[in-house]
Structure formats: C-alpha cells, structure tokens
C-alpha cells in the first residue's frame, strides 16, 4: 500500500470514527455508550497521525524520499506498507457512508429469549426482591424487569397493574408477535434477546418500534422457571426508534 493511500485511509477512518461518535449517535448501533470517549480519542489520534504522515510523506502525491525510498522491497508487501490494510477501507467507508442499521427482529427471532436470571438472594432476605409498582396510572417498565417479574415473582407484584413496554416488533410463529429488545454488554456481537409475547392486538410490521400498554398475561407457574413473559395489550402505539436501541427501558 502506497504511503499516500495510507494517509487517505488514516484520515477516512479517523473522520469516520468522529462521524459516528462525535457528530452523530450512530455508534450506539454498534457498541455500548461507554465506549464513546475511546472512539473520539481514536478518531482524533488517527486524524493527527494522518496529518503528520501527510506532512512527512507528501500528500496527495508521495514525496520522493531523501534516502532513496524504503529500500527493502522484500516481496511480501512491506515495501510501502502492508497490503492487508486495504481491507480497512471497508469499515472506514462503511461507517462514513453506509452505516448499517442496528440489529433488529432478524436477530431477535433467531434466538430464544435468554431466561431472565433467577433473583439471587430471595431466600436469605425475607422481603420481596421486586419493589411494588405504583398504584396509579401506567407504569413504564423495561422488558428485563417485566420478564423477571413474570417468570420469578411469586408475590404477584404485576397483578392488577397496567404497564407500558417499549421495543421493536418481532414476528413469531402462527401469527404470534413479540415486543422485543436486544441488549448488548460490549458490542452488537454479544447481543442478548429480551422479548415479551403480546396478546390481543394484531401484529404491526416487523422492526416497527412500539409502546405496548397492557396487563400481565400469566403463563405457567411463577418461580419455577417455566413461565414465560406475556402481556394482554390494550393499546399499541408506534414510537420513534430510540437513540440507543440497546438500552432497555420503559
């Protein structure tokens, strides 16, 4: 790879990183929010490196080297820099011009929802692990909280409450559909599925973001791990896609 092409790559990659992390929130489609400072720092460093290299090596045309070039073209691509670096143009241009969407119903429909973890210290502390929901109005809940209560809460804190869940639509088998979320801990490669089956409303198109209002639809016996979270919907309203699609909240 020629040195001027390397400079261009460094600048593209640096600008791309700043584009997705500093100027827009696109980075939230791929990595967790906490990585933002690291991405901005990397972008700045890459642009600085590119600028210094442009000044030293010449840009857009290579400046002939005083000491007569690199001088050791040993035949495996090190002459002007590694050939494999060409591949970096793919993600660099992707994040600049063709940022792919956040993961959605395709991923959510392929995996079973991870069973929410059994609450830890249920036996040791006498009081309930699930604080009571507010008595009045509609309680916004995360899919994780709702699922955990639906599966593990033997005190029935969900009974008689109207809750609102927000997520995207994942179609299931035989006309069933789910309001779902993908939760990431580092990047989109480790996405885990949270989904709650919705009864009593026709399925909106896949990947639409909706807020579903309704009441708990009990299935199975709570506390045994074979219950699954479900909701009787009274209203399904379309909402805009949230800024951070992987942040599970009501």
């Amino acid at each position: 790879m020629k040195r001027n092409v390397q400079v261009l790559l460094l600048l593209f990659l640096g600008v791309g990183l700043l584009h997705i992390s500093l100027l827009t929130d696109l980075y939230l489609r791929y990595v967790r929010a906490g990585l933002r400072p690291a991405l901005i720092a990397s972008g700045v460093l890459l642009i600085a490196l590119g600028a210094v290299s442009a000044a030293r090596d010449g840009f857009p045309f290579n400046r002939p080297r005083a000491e007569g070039g690199q001088g050791h073209d040993d035949g495996h691509g090190h002459a002007g820099g590694p050939k494999v670096a060409w591949l970096l143009y793919v993600p660099a241009l992707t994040i600049l011009f063709l940022a792919p969407p956040a993961l959605g119903s395709y991923t959510a429909s392929r995996d079973e929802a991870e069973a929410p973890k059994a609450p830890s210290s249920a036996s040791s502390s006498g009081e309930s692990l699930f604080p009571a929901l507010p008595d009045t109005g509609v309680a916004p809940m995360s899919l994780n909280d709702f699922s955990a209560r639906a599966v593990w809460d033997t005190d029935g804190t969900l009974e008689g409450h109207t809750v609102r869940l927000t997520g995207f639509v994942t179609p299931g088998r035989h006309g069933a559909w789910y309001v779902s979320r993908l939760v990431i801990s580092c990047c989109a490669a480790d996405a885990q599925v949270r989904k709650v089956r919705v009864h009593g409303a026709p399925a909106p198109p896949a990947d639409t973001w909706v807020a579903v209002t309704g009441t708990w639809h009990p299935t199975g016996k709570a506390g045994t791990g074979n219950a699954s979270p479900a909701l009787d919907a009274t209203a399904v309203r379309r909402v805009p896609e949230p800024k951070d699609p992987y942040h599970d909240m009501g």
Binding site: H72, K83, P91, P100, Y106, R110, C187
Partner: protein, 338 residues
C-alpha cells in the same frame, strides 16, 4: 462523425482512435459486469435475505469499531516500546532464564488494560526488543484475560459467585504459563516469522519519526487482520443460532469443549465475555469458565491478528495448542474451585 478531426491532421485522428479503443476495452467489462449485476443482482440479494446481510454488516462493523480503540492502544504501547524503551530494560527486569521469565511475564499481563486486540502488537514489539519468545507469548495470552478491567467485569457479571473471578484468574494464568513453558520445550524458532520493523532503524531518523512510522505500520497491518477476523466472526455469529448450543448443555464433558468452541467462533471482546458467559444459563460453571478462559486467548480475530503478526504457521499451531491447554486448565480449576 468527427467533423473537426480532419483539421487536426492524422495525429489527432490516431489519438482519437486510440482513445476510443481504450474506452472500448475499459468499457466492455464494465458493461458486461453491469449487465450481470442488473440481471443477477435481484436474484442474489433475494437469495441472501436482506435482513441477514444487514445483520452481518452490523455485527462486522461492531466488532471492527470496538476493536479499533484497543488496537490503537496496543500499537501505541508497542510503538513506544520499539522507539523509546531501550532493550536493556527488559533484560534487566526479566529473569535471564526463560523458564523463570515466563511466569513473571505472565503475571505482568495484569498491567495492560485492554482486550485481546491490544496484546498482539505489544507481544510482537517485545520479541523485537529481545524478550524471549516464550515470555512474550505468556504475556500475550495473560494480558487480555487477567487485567483489572476484565476481572471487575467478571465480578459484575457473576455477582453471586465471587469464586468465578478467582477461578478465571488462576486458570488464565495457569494456561499462559503452561503455554510459555510448552514453547520452551516444543516450540521452534522457524514457525515464528518474527515481525520486522517497518523500515528497520533508519540511522538518521529521529525517535519521534520512528515512533510514527512504526505506529502507522503496526496499526494498519493489524487493522487489516482485525477486519478479516471480524468478517469470520460475524459470519458465525449470524449463521449459527446460539440456541443450537443448548443441545450440549446437559453433559459436562461435551459442554466444556462446546463452550470452548463457542468462544473461538463468537470472538467476543474479553471485557464483555463474562456477560455473555453469565447469560449462558443451563451450562455448568466450569463450562462457562472455559468460555471465559479460551475467549481472550483463542478466537477468530486473534488467529487472524496472530497470523498477520507472527505468521500463519505459528498462529495455527499456537492457537490449537492454546485451546487444548485452556480447556484442560479450566476443567481442572473448575473442578477444584467451582
């Protein structure tokens, strides 16, 4: 048809003829490829299912993006080592006997905060600086697995089993030291294509210039291989539903190597793999330990990075041996502690 060509004389005519011939030669493949693309394009995209392709692109981009800052950190450290740290520092700090240097280097892995992308270039620059390969390899394996960030993440992911943190620390350290010693006994120098400096040490160049050139070279080189590894990992991630693994969760002796394999193909960052392991409910703690011990040491993007830095002959042998040792060590430690 070219009315004014005649005025320019035969020279102009010849030029026009040559240009149109070149245009034809260049244009023909474009037209052919374009035709094929227009004709077959819709069928191909239909066959691939748009949403699978979109998911692949997202996962691919995500792995590259979250790898870049750590790769940059690693290459900054390695460029600093090759430009500013004189070689005698390492010979002074590390015991002269490689067999003793291995555990020291393995324990020193705790100081490099980052995930596995950072440790490969650092290990390369250590070798360039005259550190015994066995010690550098022990560092390469232990650094992403036992640094404080990873251990804290493990503690957060397994709030109810503090022993998991200890088990991970011990099993990872054990694996890296065992691999270092194995390299002393069985390793051969010719497998290792030691990384050359990007320009060698140009006599006139300043330290800063040397730093810049080696940073740029190492980053671009390793970055290219990161892209290869991310593409492979994204393919597995999208193609293999995780639920397939549930089939193996019943038997301990199958689930141990299965989660070891999963760690290789998923290529999750070592700072996040504890959360993934915690979500693999239904598997025994020992099998989940294997997932966390193997993940930072052997995975698709690491194999790609290693073959870029040390050569393919090395990466294949070293990764497969590490995988076996890591699974064995996690089995032992898990049986003892968990």
């Amino acid at each position: 048809m070219h009315g004014d060509v005649g005025a320019e004389g035969p020279g102009g005519l010849r030029t026009a003829a040559r240009v149109s011939t070149l245009a034809l030669i260049a244009g023909l493949p474009v037209v052919l490829l374009g035709g094929v693309a227009i004709w077959l394009g819709p069928r191909i995209t239909e066959g691939l299912d748009h949403r699978a392709v979109a998911a692949w692109r997202t996962v691919f981009t995500a792995i590259v993006i979250q790898g870049v800052p750590f790769l940059l950190l690693g290459t900054v450290v390695s460029a600093t080592i090759s430009a500013f740290v004189p070689a005698w520092v390492f010979t002074r700090v590390l015991p002269r006997n490689p067999a003793l240097a291995v555990p020291v280097a393995g324990a020193a892995g705790a100081v490099l905060p980052g995930c596995e992308c950072a440790s490969v270039p650092v290990a390369g620059s250590l070798m360039r600086r005259g550190v015994a390969p066995a010690a550098a390899l022990a560092f390469l394996l232990s650094a992403p697995a036992i640094n404080p960030i990873v251990l804290v993440a493990t503690y957060v992911a397994f709030p109810n089993s503090p022993w998991m943190v200890a088990a991970r620390l011990i099993a990872s350290l054990l694996t890296s030291v065992a691999m270092g010693w194995l390299w002393i006994r069985a390793g051969r120098e010719e497998w290792l294509r030691l990384p050359k400096g990007p320009t060698g040490h140009a006599p006139g160049a300043s330290r800063a210039e040397e730093f810049r050139v080696s940073l740029q070279h190492d980053f671009l080189h390793a970055g290219g291989f990161l892209v290869v590894g991310a593409a492979a990992a994204a393919t597995f991630n999208v193609a293999v539903p995780h639920s397939v693994l549930r089939l193996f969760s019943d038997s301990l002796w199958l689930s141990l190597p299965m989660l070891g394999l999963l760690a290789v193909v998923l290529a999750v960052c070592s700072e996040a793999d504890a959360f993934v392991a915690a979500s693999l409910t239904g598997f025994s703690p020992t099998a989940r330990l294997a997932f966390m011990v193997v993940g930072p040491m052997v995975d698709l993007k690491l194999i790609a990075l290693q073959s870029g830095t040390f050569g393919r002959a090395f990466a294949v042998r070293f990764s497969s041996a590490t995988w076996v040792v890591a699974v064995l060590c996690s089995g032992l430690v898990g049986w003892w502690l968990l």
